[in-house]
């Protein structure tokens, strides 16, 4: 490159000669015309149109080296040459682009219905998803999640829940005891001990739900399992009533089965609640209408037994250091397997613990 004011080197400025420019234009046009596709044209663009080493680009740099009186003419010639090449390039670019769009891309067609099969599929366990979903209903109401161990002490599992050692209800629990015998250790038979743990660990008022695994001495078959999941709920505050229990459970049943189903409370018995009740929800499938029966979901009962509940027994409150004259509370507990079996149509409770991937996969990450 020649800087202004330097001595002009005739060999360097000859690139601006009309003949030289014409030759460069001819060479460029030939290459442009010869470019077979867009990739080749891109190479030509570098070599002849815009690249640092393209003859016309190089020639432009020499303009300043010309004597002042020659510059204007040379500049005009050069511009004309460049415009000619640019036009040829753009014409060819348009031509080749059109061709690509009409032919080449079609020829590159693949069968997009081929399965990609790049990833393994995964899934969460339906009881995990269901538990989260139900817990979220209560968390949205302001509840917190309580926890407790699965190997539990008799005091938490029974005694503090108003089940003294000879309580007849204990025989219904089919408890699995943990050695050494007499140590008071057992596999919790329900999530209710978390009621006690929550009341002991938290300041009043207490609003908690507690999902978790529970255990009974049942051999596994289609409808029984020694291990099953429960969801416990507890509200202890001043002025809590059974009306609050009804409202809370109605909200909950709606979250589980959808709106528009009625619920009913039936008197029942649990040692740790008084009064006690069971909650039935109208069968979401037949809605109790004989016309839609036989009903697989409710066995034509029209109602689905959903959970046990009641007002926390004053003895339970006392064992947890709560004054039953000032505070009252409600509690409920439901089996998640049963809810999942109803919700998803699971036929065998065994499927929940077998770990067969074919059972788990359809549930995905969110059910």
């Amino acid at each position: 490159m020649s800087a202004p004011g330097e001595t002009v080197d005739p060999s360097r400025v000859q690139a601006l000669d009309p003949d030289q420019l014409a030759a460069a234009v001819a060479a460029a046009q030939k290459s442009i015309a010869g470019a077979a596709d867009l990739a080749a044209l891109a190479v030509v663009r570098t070599a002849h149109v815009q690249g640092d080493s393209a003859p016309l680009v190089r020639a432009r740099r020499e303009l300043g080296a010309l004597p002042r009186e020659e510059r204007a003419d040379a500049g005009r010639r050069h511009n004309a040459a460049r415009a000619e090449v640019q036009a040829a390039f753009e014409a060819r670019l348009a031509e080749l682009t059109a061709e690509r769009d009409t032919r080449v891309l079609r020829e590159e067609r693949v069968d997009v219905t081929l399965p990609p099969a790049r990833r393994r599929r995964g899934a969460r366990h339906p009881l995990s998803s269901l538990s989260d979903r139900l817990v979220d209903v209560f968390v949205a109401m302001g509840y917190e999640v309580g926890e407790g161990p699965e190997v539990e002490h008799d005091w938490f599992n029974f005694e503090a829940l108003n089940m003294a050692p000879d309580h007849p209800a204990r025989s219904e629990h089919d408890t699995l005891y943990v050695e050494p015998v007499g140590s008071g250790r057992l596999l919790r038979t329900h999530t209710s001990p978390v009621q006690i743990r929550s009341l002991l660990a938290r300041p009043l008022p207490v609003y908690v739900v507690a999902p978790g695994r529970t255990y009974r001495n049942d051999a596994i078959d289609a409808t029984h399992s020694p291990v099953f999941a429960q969801l416990e709920g507890l509200a202890v505050d001043e002025g809590i009533t059974m009306a609050d229990l009804r409202g809370t459970l109605a909200t909950f049943a709606e979250a589980l089965f959808g709106a528009g189903l009625s619920t009913r409370l039936r008197p029942s018995y649990f040692p740790f609640t008084e009064p006690s009740a069971e909650l039935d929800v109208q069968c979401f499938d037949c809605r109790g209408e004989a016309a839609r029966q036989p009903c697989r979901v409710c066995s034509d009962e029209g109602w689905i037994e959903l959970l046990g509940c009641g007002m926390v027994d004053p003895n339970v409150l006392r064992a947890a250091g709560v004054d039953p004259a000032r505070y009252s509370g409600f509690a409920f507990g439901m089996g998640l397997e049963r809810a999942a079996m109803i919700r998803y149509g699971v036929r065998e409770i065994r499927d929940f613990v077998d770990g067969d991937v074919r059972f788990g996969l359809p549930f995905g990450i969110e059910d």
């Binding site: 190997v151 039936r266 018995y269």
Partner: protein, 900 residues
């Protein structure tokens, strides 16, 4: 509890159809498990008389060709059915019968052609054993009367000939199956359900169990009117005085343990006719209620048990030796119970004894030595009340649950003993021709009834709707409560004293709305409701009888919650991350066999050998709790492989159970009438095993699926390590990986995973020995983490510090290092990072190989270093200097050399 509806209707006249009763009982808290109609489909069965028969020999046995008169004197009696086959006037039918238990002159139930038996079984005339048999002579079972099929049903001689058997025996009936909750012992009787049914329909109820109630004195009818267990028959003399002092004693009884037995009534009957048969209607009722008819005395005790709820025991008086003594068993004493088991008694067992020693387990089962038999003519009837806990313990200790123990455990009405005894005596007199012995032994040590202070507003406080005083009092009266008085808020006592107890119902009118809500009622629960001891118990009765459906629907006003804890939220995150990365969550059973640690090849001192055993396991080969999630994952993988699923990526989160060093600390359970102290809670927890939450994955087969694009990729150790990183990254943590050696992993392919210097798990390929044990394919890989440990660190971690993003171009430099093979890559990268300093943005290992070119004992590691400054474009000299510094540190620390 099976309730025979015809029986219930006798207790409560005017009840609506059974379906309505069932629905009302459900509403009152009785779980109806079924309502079954019985006998309604029997027709065309008439009373016939055997007028003659001849034996017919067949290949297998002898049958009889019988001549049966089915209508008196050739005419059809009024009671006969309109069946056409009898309409032709054929008074005598020829019928083949396989039974032999009848004689000429016996009256029997004959199903004539056209008759229908239970289950829609139609009878026709058919040719058999060379004769045309015109019908069938029925057994009790064939009529739906129970299980007896040993022979045909022989009816009493007075049964009218030609009468319709279905109506005669009241075959058509309904049976309600009710599940009784453990607190409602009174409902284990027709009496108890009758009170509930009467209350539900506001019908009057004359409780046959009440002392002094005239009751329903049985009529002498035999078949047509089975009657009820009469309350107090005129000849029974009514209940004896307390302590047996008020009247003549029936039989000498000494109650040594009045806590275990606070009421003992004994009655004697003599002259029992051993040949007496239980009337069919009674046998039928017992059968429908689930009991077999045995003999009149046994049936009578069962009838009273079912009707009134009082367990009775009948001793053969001839076999008793001296006075009856109620006491605890002496050490080493034995008793042969009625089920023919010889039982060694525990000193806590309450027994009935005589001079010969124990003769019955009180409230549970009688003994063989004094059992009544087919020749018994004199009976001592025991009608007692035993301590529920004592009976429960004895029943559990001897694994002996009986109708009696089931009731005593749940509470029997202690006031009922003399009433029930009188009822049984009355029935024995009526049905077995017995004579009631003089006198009643009644040893009454019942404690005084307790009074429950019930604030009138308590039901409203707990149920959330008003209950007017009249409602409260009426419902208490329905339950059977009485009022000992009521106190105004000021504390002044008004009205009734304990001496003048009044039925709560009687007070309803007197209060007439004047009782204000602040008042406190002194309520005495009825003798049959030992469960009503606290205000809440009475509230349940009031609210239940008013109907739970009358409770309004409201929501509590909660204080703002704090949402999930960080750990709870992160557990979900981990589960979602793994599922998103292609792992399937499983939840396996936590029970493992004793040799589970051996199957995993765990070392003798491995902490995962600190197993906890279930004392009463479901199966002996699953008696222990898992100490690692791998046992369950391997088993689940085995099930999948057995079902043809070869490519597996499973994960599980859950608790593992490890005994604390030194075993469980002995602990005394705190009292339950107060809050336990912090020390007491700590001691309870210290008695439990450690139960950390773990997370584990297992991969087998291919990690990337095979398909049209290629054969996929087999899993390898790195998948397991990657899973650990995935979990850690989901929690915002960085795991440190080092070579590890722990079973069940391959000793050369096991990564020890640490967090802040603490070991938190392992990942890698499973040891080949483990594959052999459970049939997993070779190169199966697994990872297990102490999730709680990760969560604890993650919870405490500060928020992420955002990086400064440089907008200047990077400078990329590659280096190939020759490094001794035993040097872990992790050390090399650490050295390079240290050497390159702050300019190093990222470090990528892009090639690893060993071979001749590198030289023996060496391997080549090729890294790409991306260098960048955040305030300028790096010069070539700066980038090279950083690269050289990185290599220098690697050379210095690890003997690495730059390859040409």
């Amino acid at each position: 509890m099976l309730i025979v509806m015809s029986w219930l209707r006798e207790y409560v006249p005017g009840l609506p159809p059974s379906r309505a009763i069932a629905d009302a009982l459900i509403r009152a808290g009785f779980e109806v498990e079924g309502l079954r109609a019985v006998g309604g489909d029997v027709s065309g069965v008439v009373v016939g008389e055997i007028i003659g028969f001849e034996p017919v020999e067949t290949k297998k046995k002898t049958v009889r060709w019988c001549q049966v008169r089915v209508a008196g004197g050739g005419a059809i009696s009024d009671g006969a059915t309109g069946d056409e086959s009898t309409g032709d006037g054929a008074a005598v039918r020829g019928i083949i019968c396989g039974a032999l238990n009848f004689a000429v002159g016996d009256r029997v139930a004959v199903a004539l052609p056209g008759a229908v038996l239970p289950g829609g079984f139609a009878i026709t005339a058919r040719k058999t054993y060379g004769h045309l048999s015109e019908g069938m002579i029925c057994s009790a079972r064939e009529l739906g009367l129970g299980d007896d099929h040993d022979g045909i049903l022989v009816l009493p001689p007075s049964t009218p000939l030609g009468a319709d058997v279905a109506s005669l025996l009241e075959l058509a009936d309904e049976v309600l199956d009710i599940a009784i909750t453990p607190d409602r012992g009174y409902a284990l009787s027709v009496r108890g359900i009758a009170r509930e049914a009467a209350t539900a329909f506001a019908l009057p109820f004359d409780d046959p169990g009440l002392v002094g109630d005239p009751g329903l004195v049985d009529e002498p009818g035999l078949v047509d009117s089975p009657g009820l267990p009469p309350a107090v028959t005129p000849d029974s003399g009514g209940p004896g005085g307390s302590g047996g002092s008020g009247g003549a004693s029936a039989y000498p009884v000494l109650v040594e343990d009045t806590a275990g037995c606070d009421r003992y009534v004994a009655r004697v009957v003599t002259g029992v006719n051993p040949a007496a048969a239980t009337p069919m209607t009674w046998a039928r009722r017992l059968a429908l209620a689930g009991m077999r008819s045995i003999s009149v005395p046994v049936d009578v005790t069962n009838a009273v048990l079912l009707g009134l709820g009082q367990p009775l025991h009948a001793f053969d008086r001839a076999k008793l030796r001296g006075p009856i003594v109620v006491r605890r068993a002496a050490p080493g004493e034995t008793l042969r119970t009625l089920d023919d088991a010889l039982r060694t008694l525990d000193p806590e067992d309450l027994v009935i004894a005589d001079d010969s020693g124990p003769i019955a387990l009180a409230g549970v089962m009688g003994g063989a030595s004094t059992e009544i038999s087919a020749t018994t003519t004199e009976i001592v009837l025991e009608s007692a009340h035993f301590d529920p806990i004592s009976v429960a313990r004895t029943a559990r200790r001897h694994r002996l649950s009986s109708e009696a123990s089931r009731r005593f455990e749940r509470g029997v009405d202690p006031a009922l003993a003399p009433v029930a005894a009188a009822a049984a005596v009355g029935l024995l007199v009526e049905l077995a021709g017995a004579t009631a012995g003089p006198g009643v032994t009644d040893l009454d040590h019942r404690p005084a009834a307790t009074t429950v202070s019930l604030p009138l507003g308590e039901a409203e406080r707990l149920a959330g709707r008003p209950y007017p005083p009249q409602t409260v009092l009426r419902r208490l009266a329905d339950v059977g409560c009485t009022l000992a008085g009521h106190t105004s808020a000021g504390g002044s006592s008004a009205g009734h004293t304990s001496a003048g107890r009044t039925s709560a119902g009687a007070v309803v009118d007197s209060v007439d709305g004047a009782v204000d809500r602040e008042e406190v009622l002194a309520v005495v629960a009825p003798s049959w409701r030992p469960d009503l001891t606290r205000p809440a118990d009475l509230v349940e009765e009031i609210v239940r009888l008013e109907g739970y459906d009358t409770i309004p629907v409201t929501l509590p006003r909660l204080p703002a919650g704090r949402g999930l804890t960080a750990a709870q939220r992160m557990r979900r995150t981990v589960g979602r991350a793994l599922a998103g990365a292609g792992y399937v969550e499983v939840q396996t059973l936590p029970f493992v066999p004793e040799d589970a640690p051996d199957a995993l090849g765990l070392a003798a001192d491995d902490p995962r050998r600190a197993v906890v055993r279930v004392a009463n396991p479901i199966a002996e080969d699953a008696a222990y709790l898992r100490t690692t999630l791998l046992s369950g994952l391997i088993a689940a993988a085995g099930r999948n492989l057995g079902r043809g699923q070869q490519d597996l990526a499973l994960f599980e989160t859950g608790l593992v159970f490890r005994e604390r060093p030194g075993g469980p600390a002995p602990v005394t359970a705190p009292a339950v009438d107060r809050k336990p102290s912090a020390d007491e809670i700590t001691a309870l927890d210290a008695a439990l095993p450690e139960q950390p939450r773990h997370l584990a994955v297992l991969l087998a087969g291919r990690s990337e699926p095979a398909g049209w694009a290629g054969p996929g990729r087999a899993v390898d150790w790195a998948d397991a390590v990657d899973a650990a990183h995935l979990v850690a990254e989901a929690l915002g943590l960085t795991l440190t990986v080092a070579a590890g050696e722990a079973m069940p992993w391959h000793p050369g392919r096991c990564a020890a995973l640490s967090l802040d210097g603490r070991l938190v798990g392992y990942a890698g390929e499973l040891h080949p020995r483990v594959h052999g044990g459970v049939g997993l394919p070779a190169r199966t890989v697994a990872m297990e983490l102490d999730l709680d440990a990760l969560l604890a660190v993650a919870e405490a971690a500060p928020p992420v510090a955002a990086p400064t993003i440089s907008t200047y171009p990077p400078a990329d430099r590659d280096v190939a290092l020759a490094v001794p093979v035993q040097v872990p890559v992790a050390d090399v990268t650490a050295a390079l990072r240290a050497g390159a300093g702050a300019l190093l943005e990222s470090l990528t290992l892009f090639d690893v190989f060993e071979g001749e070119q590198v030289g023996p004992g060496q391997r080549s590691l090729a890294f790409g270093l991306r260098l960048r400054a955040f305030d300028r474009t790096l010069t070539a000299a700066e980038a090279n200097a950083a690269r050289d510094a990185a290599v220098a540190v690697a050379a210095d620390r690890l003997g690495a050399s730059l390859r040409a």
